[in-house]
């Protein structure tokens, strides 16, 4: 096992612009299909030694798929991959590792009950177990010092914070001797401060000769930290540019194709309270739970809840929809008074609708028809036939009507399986269902996650329409842009409580400070 610094020095000899040096990574005409869906359509890409190269695009543009091909997770249908000028066949992650390619996936590939060290050790079964452990312990310490990271490698990974877990992932890649490092949406779950620290480390790595692909959908990140930017859209490369050559507007246009102008539009008339939470407490072994959580939502307003994920947002959704119980405190609902710890079927009947963050597992039954997925709320409320007989004909008619009104595309018939819909259309189906009972309170948890800009705009329009109709809307999102765009009032959630509230127009800096201030 060579010391990591050995590699670093070796590659550092080539300058990032050395024209005679072959690219660290070159992809030519890569194509990949999943079933009928063509995810990559003849993509070319190259990465120079010592370069930080941002791969920019919307969710679903094919960025992660492309990099998974390089990491050996997916096998391409056609096209060639070259590493340091030599064409290679990558048939699995271990091939990629041998070639010096390492990827930090968006969803970390860590064995949770294992310690950080064991997670690294499992890729390196050389020598006796005890010796390998000892050797690795020393090596990782050096590597940590080298890039200025700090993490306890002897604690089970499941007890570490996400940013610490990410450091272990990066360490894993470095110990494996990777010269080409791919980071897939590395800042998705980090606070701003943590992100800045991460980019400092990445810059250090590049300076020492590593080549880095930064997969991201965040414009600012790419413009600030990358040496070069390649924009992907719909499984194809749109253009490669230098950050100095483009402005934000131009880059946006490249990402989206055509620009959509989504303007802010505030509510004029917030009315009476529809939901009040008072001093709600809930203990939770896995997360921060809820601590002294109090806020209220009025009719005719969108109340945005900003905050880094994992600060109690999911628990908040669960207690308001009746999926889990509070330990103390009250939930009050207009027209129903105290509804603390009522079961979910009761909360639903009180006019609460919910667009959950994990569509596939919480809002859609992929194996069942579109019609069933649309009608289940109505069936539960007794709208379609009796207990003895479900009125299929009325369900079909209503589904067709809703599909038309909510512009759910790709529905060939109401008996088609809902799982065949694309993310955006599945979300529209969920909204169509949730809005079908004209709810008085709507919880939307990351409603545009994974959607393209057009679909997000449609989702936003629906939320605004519900507000204008007089419903109270809670918008929970990790995307501060989305919160700023839609909300009439903003609460910041941190460690299980609302730590600050802002009237709009709000100061973005102040919100950001509140988000991390209590960390």
């Amino acid at each position: 096992m060579n010391a990591i610094t050995g590699h670093m020095r070796e590659t550092a000899r080539h300058g990032p612009d050395g024209a005679d040096v072959p690219p660290a990574l070159a992809l030519a005409a890569i194509s990949k299909t999943f079933g009928d869906f063509s995810a990559l359509k003849g993509v070319d890409f190259d990465l120079k030694p010592g370069e930080i190269h941002a791969l920019l695009g919307e969710n679903g543009a094919g960025k992660s798929t492309l990099m998974n091909v390089v990491a050996g997770i997916y096998t391409p249908d056609s096209g060639t991959v070259s590493v340091h000028g030599r064409p290679v066949a990558i048939r699995g992650p271990s091939d990629a590792q041998q070639l010096g390619v390492g990827m930090v996936h968006q969803h970390y590939k860590l064995v949770k009950p294992f310690t950080g060290l064991e997670n690294i050790l499992m890729a390196h079964p050389e020598g006796s177990y005890r010796q390998a452990r000892k050797r690795l312990q020393a090596m990782t310490k050096d590597a940590l010092d080298g890039i200025g990271f700090d993490v306890d490698l002897n604690r089970p990974v499941e007890s570490l914070s996400v940013s610490e877990q990410q450091r272990i992932e990066i360490l894993k890649v470095l110990v494996a001797g990777a010269k080409v490092i791919i980071l897939d949406e590395p800042t998705a779950v980090l606070t701003d401060d943590e992100a800045v620290r991460l980019f400092t480390a990445i810059r250090n790595l590049a300076r020492e000769g590593h080549s880095v692909v930064l997969v991201t959908h965040k414009l600012a990140e790419a413009l600030t930290y990358a040496d070069r930017i390649t924009v992907m859209r719909g499984g194809q490369v749109v253009r490669s540019v230098l950050p100095s050559e483009v402005g934000e507007a131009e880059l946006t246009a490249l990402i989206v194709g055509s620009t959509i102008d989504e303007r802010e539009r505030r509510s004029g008339n917030a009315g009476k309270s529809v939901l009040k939470l008072r001093a709600v407490e809930r203990r939770d072994d896995r997360g921060p739970g809820l601590r002294n959580l109090s806020f209220e939502v009025r009719s005719g307003e969108i109340y945005g809840i900003a905050g880094v994920g994992g600060n109690g947002q999911s628990a908040l959704v669960e207690i308001v929809t009746g999926l889990s119980q509070v330990d103390s405190g009250n939930i009050w609902l207009d027209g129903h008074d105290d509804v603390t710890n009522q079961p979910s079927e009761r909360m639903r009947r009180c006019g609460i609708a919910c667009i959950p963050s994990d569509r596939q597992s919480d809002a859609i039954a992929g194996d069942l028809p579109v019609a069933d997925n649309y009608a289940i709320n109505g069936v539960l409320e007794g709208r379609y036939g009796s207990v003895l007989r479900v009125d299929r004909r009325r369900i079909d008619a209503d589904t067709q009507d809703a599909v038309r009104r909510f512009e759910v595309m790709g529905v060939r018939g109401s008996h088609q399986k809902a799982g065949l819909l694309s993310g955006g259309n599945a979300q529209k189906l969920v909204i169509a269902r949730e809005f079908s009972g004209t709810p008085s309170l709507i919880l939307a948890h990351s409603p545009s996650r994974g959607l393209d800009i057009r679909a997000s705009a449609a989702v936003h329009d629906h939320l605004r329409a519900a507000r204008d109709r007089g419903a109270g809307v809670i918008l929970i999102s990790e995307d501060l842009d989305e919160i700023m765009l839609l909300s009439d009032r903003i609460g910041v959630m941190s460690r299980g409580s609302i730590v600050a509230e802002f009237e709009t127009p709000a100061d973005r800096q102040a919100i950001g400070k509140a988000m991390v201030g209590h960390g």
Partner: protein, 364 residues
């Protein structure tokens, strides 16, 4: 390890040569084709196995086709066995549809039959109502036998596969206790209960030796079809089956539905015990239940929990059982072969489902 010599990996593993892809969706017609191919393969392997046992191809044709479909008597015996098989198949299907792995059908059949025999042995109720009381006792006993695993599953998350299975062994030992002890027929050398009286047997329907069990099974198939396909319970249960998390989030009463369908499953199994003991054996024996438990499970699997498909596969297994009996007589093929063949068919069908979910692509 960190030897980053840049070369194309040449290692090719067995798995590496193929690429496994997840299929999005396969049309229903194609799926049925794949499953049919699986069944055919299973039958083919079984035929080879029987031939290895010395049964000639002509013998196979004779036992499975000519002998069965050539005589009304044999068709009647196929139908007679198909009735209880359908009932236990429905029992399994209802439970599986509620994501409750009821592997305890055998125990519920035994306990149901014990319940029915209890009513018969002690002449409970007027003779005109005797059969109805026996049926009700069987249904109650079947539900009782599933109630404990059901309770443990819902309240304590105890794995129902193992708990229902353990209940089988407990029921079996209880049966032996009764047959070797208090309920033993003194006129018989074997551990049997005494023969049921005429009022305690299912009425004949006037064709061959068939009795009411057949029309009852048909009615139950229709009822199950209605429950799963038409009623609100079935509509909601589809969501519990497809995505329980979502169903819970939308306010579906999952516990209630699970209770309803699992208890219905226990009731059906118990009723199956009544049908077998009164319709076929006319008494309790120490082996009257053998094979029904696992056949019910396999039938429900083959039928993908669809009641009408359950009836179809029950007929298929029934043909196998009747043919198996004559193979035993004429070729000395052990009756265990019937169980083996069922398992082979299910293995082949299960294996064939791979091609419904995945696609293999050869690399280069």
């Amino acid at each position: 390890m960190a030897d980053a010599s840049i070369s194309a990996p040449t290692r090719r593993s067995l798995f590496g040569r193929f690429n496994l892809e997840v299929r999005g969706h396969m049309p229903m017609g194609q799926q049925m084709l794949v499953v049919s191919a699986g069944i055919l393969l299973g039958l083919l392997l079984s035929a080879l196995l029987l031939m290895a046992y010395g049964v000639k191809p002509s013998g196979l044709l004779n036992e499975f086709v000519v002998a069965i479909f050539g005589s009304q008597r044999n068709i009647a015996s196929v139908l007679a066995y198909a009735a209880p098989l359908t009932i236990v198949g429905l029992s399994a299907a209802l439970a599986f549809k509620a994501r409750f792995w009821n592997i305890g059908i055998e125990g519920q059949v035994i306990f149901g039959a014990i319940g029915a025999t209890l009513v018969a042995n002690y002449d409970i109720g007027p003779p005109s109502l005797r059969l109805v009381l026996m049926a009700l006792a069987a249904i109650g006993a079947g539900m009782l036998w599933i109630a404990l695993p059901l309770f443990l599953k819902i309240r304590l998350h105890v794995n129902e596969i193992i708990s229902t299975l353990l209940m089988n062994y407990i029921a079996f030992n209880l049966l032996l206790h009764l047959l070797y002890g208090p309920w033993k027929d003194p006129q018989s050398a074997f551990p049997n209960s005494k023969l049921f009286e005429d009022v305690e047997r299912l009425m004949a329907i006037g064709w061959q030796n068939l009795n009411l069990s057949l029309p009852i099974a048909v009615v139950l198939v229709l009822l199950a079809g209605w429950l799963l396909g038409v009623s609100r319970y079935g509509f909601l249960l589809n969501f519990v089956y497809a995505n329980a998390r979502m169903a819970r989030a939308l306010g579906v009463k999952i516990v209630g539905l699970t209770l309803l369908f699992a208890l219905a499953s226990g009731a059906l199994s118990g009723f199956g015990g009544f049908i077998i003991s009164t319709g076929i054996e006319s008494r309790l024996t120490q082996s009257f239940f053998v094979g029904y438990g696992f056949s019910g499970i396999l039938i429900a699997f083959l039928a993908r929990n669809n009641p009408f498909a359950v009836a179809f596969f029950a007929l298929l297994i029934s043909v196998l059982m009747v043919a198996g009996q004559s193979l035993q007589v004429f070729y000395q093929v052990p009756f265990a072969m019937v169980q083996l063949i069922q398992a082979i068919i299910v293995i082949c069908v299960a294996a064939s489902e791979f091609f419904i979910h995945y696609r293999l692509r050869l690399l280069e």
